[in-house]
């Protein structure tokens, strides 16, 4: 029986090649992205699976309640909270805090390299599944000044020497003894580190810097990730109740961070970290659950559209199959058997589509691997049996979904009516449903295209208007710890360098720094974005001073004296006209008092998603981190000269430099990636809608062949006939446009709302999409109608 079905399914697939192609390729194209997303999701659930009793491991999260209302959830929590829980609550089997900020340049006698990692608790190896290739897990992180390296890091420092017992020097932590080397990680993990330093090293460091405290500071919920493993039988709720108690006693009467009203702590299971909710202060890689959901929804839309097509075409084509169904019923097939047969065909088509889809996937994977945010999520996209199993299951499910309606409709008919005149069947009078499906597909595609057009134009606009855009003449060079005056003096010897200025960080990027500003002692402090610049920055970037003067050069300055602000700043602090504001005193961060020395004309110093805000420009040579070199002549030569000079400066790291307009492009790279993805889905959507249109056109041309022939016999020309046949589709397209335009207008305005500065929604946002849709529609439908209109009428009439 199954063999018989398979045979007939294969034969009918081959017999109606055009339809089979449309069906299988439509399914395959959309399936290929779904396969990709299946791989992504599978990959995302591959994190942190290697830890012993990992199901009992939790991370303590902080919900910081704001005075202004609302709360923000942090992946980190105060160090003392974790310690108190491990000491006061009997249900804790192991606790390991991971404290950030263990990073910087580390030296051996021969080498200096950068490392990043954590200060880790002594129970780290008891808690996590990382294994030591060398060293004792029980003691490796026990003593102060101990460090454990990953195999890769050990290799970088020590090549083939035995690392254990060697010493690494760092300006901040002092000498650290290598007590262990990790085996390569047994699997993916959200924890990323080159090295782990014993947490007992911290107290000594804290004593050196009175302002900085982690291990005793209940308000520092930024630095520490507290991981605990509960004892078997201990519930998460019990531990959270213990946390609530700890918080209650610890924060009673304690002064909190200025903006906070209180803190709540809760536990997050290890397996819920990746993929997991978006939290502030997240560490490491892995896809946030939201992104996976977003992609899944996109997939569902595209897949539904492809299934629509299958359903639509199969029902449309039913008239070629009704006879067969009738005959089978006459021969004793039950409804269930006919249903099964059509389901079988759908699943087979889906299976065929799967093969095609896999081919497409293989072709597109390299493209996806180039996307930055996928790389950031540490996506490997590899095949294994589980993924293959999911693929198969997905294909079967697709077949079932796509085949359900046609199978139900076709198996329902009574044998006798199937054998009669087909045009009389109710099925063929009900084209309304199919038209509705088609219009929906077209409308959804159009919304996609329009949104894409808008987003693309907005992105080009934002890139073009961003600070530093088009400045291919400015090369930004990270100072890499070399003093400003020394580096500037050396660099100025390069003949291509016309001008040198410096800043703490670059304008027009996402990087931020704030100062709390007050105009008088009585005021509440207001955070204002600040940049430290040198005296050459303003002329170098052509900023316009509308009042006052630039900073005076003062390399030996011991205390900040001046500030330059923008017009918006004057407005915010009600300082009146630019000229009046000069010499007004500002109090910065409670510590320094500076006088306003100049006012710059407002300009956009952040990406366009930010509105224009008050700006504070400060002068402190010690805070400068990046040089802006204005280059003329051959940039290649300039870069080469720069590299040469850098070597003479004795910096252990190679120079880091980038042209400003490259930085601007980089700034929007995530957005661009997302656009690519949406565009890819959009293209697939359009393709599928066109395939659907093509199927409908073939169907109409077939069913109306008699009418066409008669019209021809009475004298209609191909032009008249093409017009006659296309008219209906033109109407469908028109309806789709009418539906899609308001929807995309609303969605487009929403999209643009996220940018403080955005393009206007004019006709050019919509016209390209509409034109594209009509063009594709005309090609698709036109090809079929012309074919029908040109056919010899006698052939069609003879068949009747």
């Amino acid at each position: 029986m199954v063999k018989n079905y398979l045979k007939i399914a294969l034969r009918s697939l081959f017999k109606y090649k055009a339809f089979s192609f449309i069906n299988a390729s439509g399914l395959a194209i959309s399936m290929s992205v779904c396969l990709l997303v299946i791989m992504l999701i599978r990959d995302a659930y591959n994190f942190d699976l290697f830890h012993p009793q990992g199901e009992r491991v939790y991370r303590i999260l902080t919900d910081a309640q704001r005075k202004a209302g609302g709360q923000e959830s942090y992946a980190s929590s105060p160090y003392p909270v974790g310690m108190a829980l491990s000491q006061d609550f009997s249900g804790i089997e192991a606790w390991s805090p991971l404290v950030r900020s263990f990073n910087g340049a580390f030296r051996t006698s021969r080498k200096e390299l950068n490392m990043e990692g954590f200060f880790a608790g002594s129970e780290f190896f008891k808690l996590f599944g990382f294994r030591l290739a060398q060293g004792d897990p029980a003691t490796a992180l026990a003593e102060p000044q101990s460090v454990v390296l990953t195999q890769e890091t050990a290799q970088r420092f020590f090549k083939n020497e035995n690392p254990v017992g060697q010493v690494l020097e760092n300006n901040w932590t002092g000498s650290l003894k290598v007590t262990g080397v990790l085996e390569p990680f047994p699997g993916k993990t959200h924890l990323e580190f080159d090295a782990l330093c014993s947490i007992s090293t911290l107290p000594a460091l804290e004593r050196m810097e009175p302002d900085w405290n982690v291990t005793e500071n209940w308000n520092n919920y930024y630095m520490t990730y507290n991981f605990v493993r509960l004892r078997p039988g201990t519930g998460k709720e019990a531990a959270e109740a213990a946390l609530a108690n700890i918080a209650k006693t610890a924060y009673q009467g304690r002064e909190l961070e200025a903006r906070d009203a209180g803190y709540r702590f809760r536990l997050q299971a290890l397996k819920e970290i990746t993929p997991g909710p978006l939290l502030s202060n997240s560490v490491g890689r892995g896809a946030p659950a939201m992104l996976l959901w977003f992609l899944t929804v996109l997939c569902a839309i595209v897949m539904a559209s492809a299934c629509f097509n299958y359903t639509n075409l199969t029902i449309a084509r039913a008239f070629t199959r009704t006879k067969e169904v009738g005959v089978r019923k006459v021969m004793g097939a039950t409804r269930g058997q006919v249903f099964g047969q059509f389901m079988g065909e759908a699943v087979l088509t889906a299976g065929l589509a799967l093969v095609l889809a896999y081919g497409i996937l293989e072709l597109t994977i390299p493209f996806f691997k180039r996307l930055q945010f996928l790389a950031f999520m540490d996506v490997t996209l590899k095949m294994d049996w589980v993924v293959a199993g999911w693929f198969l299951l997905f294909a079967i499910a697709t077949g079932v979904v796509a085949g359900l309606l046609p199978a139900a409709v076709l198996s329902k008919f009574q044998a006798a009516s199937m054998l009669q005149k087909l045009q009389n069947l109710p099925l063929f009078r009900r084209v309304g449903l199919r038209k509705t499906l088609l219009v929906t597909q077209l409308a959804v595609s159009l919304v996609f295209i329009v949104l894409l057009t808008i987003a693309w134009r907005q992105m080009s606009f934002a890139t073009r208007e961003n600070f530093g855009a088009g400045r291919s003449d400015i090369l930004n060079l990270e100072m890499g710890g070399i003093p400003y005056d020394k580096l500037a003096a050396e660099i100025s010897r390069v003949s291509q360098v016309q001008e040198i200025s410096a800043a703490s960080h670059l304008m027009g990027t996402w990087r931020d720094s704030n100062a709390d500003v007050r105009a008088s002692r009585a005021d509440e402090p207001v955070p204002v974005r600040d940049y430290f610049i040198d005296h050459r920055f303003i002329p170098n970037f052509g900023l316009e001073l509308i009042a006052g003067e630039n900073f005076p050069e003062n390399p030996a300055q011991r205390r900040e004296l001046f500030a330059i602000v923008n017009e918006k700043f004057l407005e915010r602090f009600r300082l009146g006209a630019p000229a009046e504001a000069l010499n007004r005193v500002l109090i910065l961060d409670d510590s320094s008092e500076v006088a306003i020395r100049g006012v710059v004309k407002d300009f956009l110093f952040k990406p366009l998603s930010y509105s224009l805000e008050p700006l504070l420009l400060r002068y402190d040579p010690a805070q400068l981190r990046v040089l802006n070199l204005k280059i003329s002549g051959d940039p290649q030569a300039a870069v080469a000269a720069l590299e040469n000079i850098w070597k003479t400066l004795g910096s252990p790291a190679p120079p880091e430099y980038r042209f400003y307009d490259d930085t601007v492009r980089e700034t929007f790279s995530n957005l661009r990636d997302i656009l690519w993805i949406v565009g890819y889905f959009g293209a697939i959507g359009i393709l599928i809608a066109c395939l659907g249109l093509l199927g409908m056109a073939i169907f109409t041309a077939e069913t109306r062949s008699k009418e066409i022939s008669i019209r021809k016999v009475v004298g209609a020309g191909p032009g008249n006939l093409a017009a006659l046949l296309s008219k209906g589709y033109f109407l469908l397209l028109l309806i789709a446009v009418v539906i899609a335009l308001p929807v995309s207008y609303l969605a487009g305005s929403q999209l643009l709302q996220t940018f403080a500065y955005h393009i206007a929604l004019d006709v050019w946002a919509f016209l390209p999409g509409v034109a594209l849709l009509f063009l594709l529609g005309a090609i698709t439908v036109g090809s079929q109608t012309l074919k029908a209109a040109r056919a010899n009428p006698v052939d069609a009439l003879r068949k009747e």
Partner: protein, 232 residues
Amino acid sequence: MIRLKNIFKYYSNKFVKTYVLQDNSLEIREGEFVTIMGPSGAGKSTLLHIMGMLDSPSSGEYYFYGEPVHRLGEKQRTELHKRRIGFVFQSYHLIDELTVYENLETPLLYQKVKAGERKSMVAEILDRFHMAAKKDLFPQQLSGGQQQLAAIARALIIQPKLILADEPTGNLNSRQGEEIMQVFKQLNEAGTTIVQVTHSERNAAYSERIIHLLDGRIVEDAPVSLVGVAGE
């Protein structure tokens, strides 16, 4: 074998009911060879479909071997007809995607006959109709007469008690038609009940009893000898 009581059949659309069959009662005994005649649109095919359980009457009672068909569900009706009734159509209705062999095999598949048995049954019927050489051809590769022979072979493979034929020679030339009617005659002599719908007086002459339908009503039901077409 077949007893129809007050059978009505109508189609209703929004405004009117169109009667195809009106108040027909009829009995057919085992071993009969019956012809249904009448002008186009008289309801001949509908009556045949109702007898074959492919269609159900709008009202009335239908007993098949004493079983009240009008009270059975679709599944039970299928069960009843698939073992006892063979159909032959004017336009053959072979499945185009299957070879002759596979077409003949299909009814057996629906009866869940085992593979070995199926093979021998198909081989036997192919022999009987001298079609063994054509078993791997597709329907379009056969002449009309051969297609109809294959269709009859397919109807007979389940060894039905009743054969319902709807204009079986309508698409054939007269020589082919003659051959088909000879086959029917032999089957009837071997004990199979046959009901055929035809326009052709010549075909009707093969049967024993003629039922005349006009506008959905049986207007005449008499043995062939009395109707007087037998002589010609």
